[in-house]
Subunit: 210 residues, 2 copies
């Protein structure tokens, strides 16, 4: 990325924006929606409230943009590291499942969860979070397919990958109040083995129809 065309002022503005977005995610993860105001985030980012409002006119703008930005950054970081993954096979499957679940058990998921639950009862947030959830969900699904080297054309693959992301969300929730690391490691191992078996068995295991 060339920065030659940007003025120092544009660089400063971009850096401020970036600091605000990162502070907003940390703030949400730590303090929840009730405790997360533009003022608190501005303070944490070392920016005036006026500057924060210049970048993000409303509280909803700030926090929605923050979760989207940090999610995109984390996904890009994972993509940059795929060269480090083992070749396709059970070891890679387990490594990828671990990566995905690590993403869902850290501060980013915690922040998103607070926003998500607030959106269930706050109208101005609701529509924005539904749209955000769709975009981030689609991106995560595509990345998971890519990392696992799976073809969505194979029957059952789409649902298996969706189940993996749903499981990750559930494990994220289970990690909210207590450190669930130990229990989770058994689940991740077992899930990885089942996922591998499902994709090895040419995707969907036939289900008896009732």
């Amino acid at each position: 990325m060339s920065t030659a065309a940007r003025t120092p002022q544009q660089d400063r503005s971009r850096a401020t924006r970036q600091r605000l977005l990162e502070a907003a995610v940390d703030c949400l993860a730590e303090l929840g929606w009730n405790g997360s105001t533009v003022t608190v985030v501005a303070e944490r980012a070392g920016v005036t409230r006026g500057a924060a409002q210049h970048h993000f006119p409303t509280r909803e703008d700030l926090f929605t943009a923050a979760v989207e930005h940090v999610a995109a950054e984390r996904l890009a970081a994972l993509r940059a590291d795929t060269g480090e993954l083992p070749p396709l096979g059970p070891a890679r499957t387990e490594a990828v499942v671990e990566l995905i679940i690590r993403l869902y058990t850290g501060p980013l998921f915690r922040a998103a969860l607070h926003l998500w639950v607030a959106a269930a009862t706050e109208e101005p947030l609701r529509a924005r979070i539904i749209a955000l959830e769709n975009r981030v969900g689609r991106e995560s699904h595509r990345a998971a397919l890519e990392f696992l080297g799976l073809d969505e054309g194979t029957p059952g693959v789409r649902e298996t990958v969706q189940a993996t992301l749903d499981l990750a969300r559930g494990l994220g929730l289970a990690n909210l109040l207590t450190d669930d690391t130990q229990r989770r490691s058994g689940v991740v191992r077992q899930w990885s083995a089942m996922l591998q078996a499902a994709v090895d068995g040419a995707a969907a295991v036939p289900v008896e129809q009732n």
Copy 2:
């Protein structure tokens, strides 16, 4: 259950308590933690605020008891209906997975989710919700094993059942802001097939060690 030993006053008190608990879950599911006060619940239950406080001295008492009570009732209702389930095999597995996931995508889970997320940032709730989560989690795990006719002594079974409950939590979350029924049905079908294959294959599929 004999009611012969109870006085009419005890019956009324029990009925009041029951109405409060059910109203508290509905209230949480609809209005979230911020909107759920003892006053709102008392009104919805058609009980005076004083009577509500006689049964539940604090807001935390009321909502924690409500989620625990309704969870126990739902589980008991499922237990009472196990005679209707198909015999052990793929059809039963899918029916049980559906039952579990239905439990996690209804108002009870929604209420629990609001309480859970509030507990992440509200100290008086935190310890109580951790304890509640442990008790309800243990009960749900035991019921799932029972319904699926699985023996936890078999390697991998415990983790597979845990994964099923984690998946259910994730699907509950995915259903919070939008109706996820259609997407979910594919995930449930696929997961049921994977679960059946895992238990048929004498539990854990071996995982390559790296």
